[in-house]
Amino acid sequence: MTDPLLEVHDLKTQFFTEEGVVRAVDGVSFTVEPGEIVGLVGESGAGKSVAAQSILRLVERPGEIVDGEILFRGDPLVQFEERAGKLRPTEEMLTNDEMRKHIRGREIAIIFQDPMESLNPVYTVGGQLREFIEINRDMGEKEAKALAIDMLREVGIPEAAERYSDYPHQFSGGMRQRVLIAMALSCEPSLIIADEPTTALDVTVEAQILELVDDLQEKYGTSFIWVTHDMGVVAEITDRVNVMYLGEIVEQAEVDDLFHDTKHPYTDALLDSLPRPDQTVEELNPIAGVMPEAINPPSGCRFHPRCPDARVVCTRIHPDNRIVDSDGAPHRAACLKNDEVFDVGYWESEPIELQAGTGFGAGLAEDRGGAGE
């Protein structure tokens, strides 16, 4: 296997709020290989967007990356070492200036969730595209304009040369998302972080965009980190998947393995809550309760209050993300159910009642009770 394009080791990003420290990302590790689409999946508040922003060091105060290492082609985007009893960034870690000049836009681009808000309303679409190209590819105005029009055509915008001088409000949501994709691709980065790019679009447009990304990915060989909460999109587009829950990665596998040989009850629950064409069910099974606050996560396994398979041992022992199946590509999961790996006596332990109620109100009440502990 070649060297990974991006390595994230034990990344921790925290928000220092008045209520306490929010551990939005709490020890996350994953890799992205060249030319691969990696999914980052989880409910709202799982920390997936913060993890994605941390890669580009775009987390703003009160948020801060406090520990961990991110290597991009071996260059440390984030790296800490212990000096005088405190964690400090290493000398080798890229400065903010180097991040801006060499990484952002040039090597790693990001596509944001809301195409309606991600374009500046006072400039033409083409002007913005051109600005980004000029900055990141050292081109003159004419060259950049020609390239910008080419890129608009490439992402399937009809009459690209005329639409170049239209303003964002003259584009539909799907067209704007195409523009944002053109913006990300035009600087020919090696990695594009797509932060729920299709969430704000309706399903038919979503399908078109996914198809477009698939085609372009093949053509340019760009790697993607695809942040989403939609298992359907995951199945459609990704090669490997990281499932996040409350700031941690709970399962990590190839996409087929994840769907057909699920090792974590949370992933199971996510899949159960979706309509699937290959299964007929009477009604969908939503996940019980809501995600607890990351200020005060539950003891032991963080999912145990909502887990249908939780046992007494789960409330005490916090499972790390271990390889549970090494046939072929490694399949990692952080669940004590895989007792042959964790060996903590899961099957001997007493099952516990599902603590979280079902439904919205029950979840809220449970959440408040939990926060008061």
Binding site: L58, R104, F112, N120, E131, E162, D166, H169
Partner: protein, 327 residues
């Protein structure tokens, strides 16, 4: 809907499409703002007044700086020193007093030194308009930079800059300008700079409040993620999206600056005699207010009209730039 989209629909929609098409045109942009102003009679009146006085100011400035009153003394009367008149305090046309009958040679009358009042009003416009514009431009530039930087970076930079600006705000406007001119000089240029500095807080506070919300927009985040430098983000993305209220304030501020400078001239700061300025004319006329009221009425009217003109235009501009007010 896109422009091309409506074109493709062709003629079959044109019967019902009239109103619908107007609805889809954007309620932003230069052309839309101008069309809004053009359909607003008060804004147009304001614009007419501003244009009128600006034109006079330009002519008088050319004559004053480049031709040394050659135009005035050749085709009209010299506003500072007219060799042909020795008749002081002549009333306007149609009135008479103990000094004589008003004549068409001096339609608004003459002052206590026998100078033509209309000519002095005409050449005083230059002072009012230039100082109004220049002071506002200085305040606008300074305030926009300070407010945008404070709002964009936040934290201690915000605290330091805004507390400094608020300190300036705490000192009464006129006192601040007079102190400034006492320290540096009584000339008109210092009046501009002084009034400009004194209006920095107004602009800084206004733009900061907008920048604080604009900097959270996704397109600002997108620009950061694309590697645009901070100065580029502030200048190209943050300020243009925060500028509408500042533009309105600037128009109103010109009126305020004209008033302040008239007040300063009244107190003896600013344009020095014999250079004509409205405030100074008011100041000189106050000894003759009861017997010869027209002497003070004319400069007072000139100040009033100009300030009202800028206020009318500013109000119209605010309505045009605020999409919620549009009917």
């Amino acid at each position: 809907m896109s422009r091309t989209g409506t074109d493709e629909l062709g003629d079959d929609r044109s019967t019902t499409g009239g109103i619908a098409q107007e609805d889809v045109t954007a309620r932003v942009g230069m052309r839309y703002t101008l069309s809004q102003i053009a359909s607003d009679p008060t804004a147009l009146a304001g614009l007419a007044i501003i244009s009128f006085f600006t034109l006079i100011a330009i002519i008088s400035a050319i004559d004053y700086y480049l031709l040394d009153y050659w135009l005035a003394s050749t085709f009209w009367v010299h506003p500072e020193n007219d060799p042909n008149t020795i008749q002081t305090l002549l009333p306007p046309v149609g009135f008479s007093n103990e000094f004589g009958q008003g004549t068409w040679a001096h339609p608004l009358g003459t002052d206590h030194r026998g100078r033509d009042i209309l000519a002095r009003l005409f050449y005083g416009t230059r002072v009012a308009i230039t100082v109004g514009f220049m002071a506002t431009v200085i305040g606008l530039l300074g305030g926009t930079v300070v407010g945008a930087v404070a709002g964009y970076y936040g934290e201690w930079i915000d605290d330091v800059l805004m507390r400094a600006v608020e300190t300036l705000y705490a000192i009464p406007f006129l006192v601040l300008v007079i102190a400034f001119m006492t320290a540096f000089g009584r000339e008109l240029s210092f009046a501009m700079v002084g009034v400009g500095i004194a209006s920095v807080p107004t602009f800084a506070r206004l733009i900061r409040s907008r920048v604080v919300s604009v900097r959270e927009e996704d397109y600002v985040e997108a620009a950061r993620a694309a590697g645009v430098r901070d100065s580029g983000i502030i200048l190209r993305h943050v300020i243009p999206n925060s500028f509408a209220p500042v533009l309105v304030q600037a128009t109103l501020q010109i009126g305020v600056a004209i008033l302040i400078v008239a007040g300063l001239s009244f107190l003896g700061f600013g344009a020095q005699p014999p250079t004509p300025s409205w405030g100074q004319m008011l100041s000189q006329s106050r000894n003759y207010m009861l017997p010869d009221p027209w002497f003070s009425v004319w400069p007072g009217l000139a100040i009033l009209t100009t300030v009202v003109g800028f206020n009318l235009f500013g109000d119209g501009l605010r309505d045009a730039l605020d999409p919620r007010i549009n009917n």
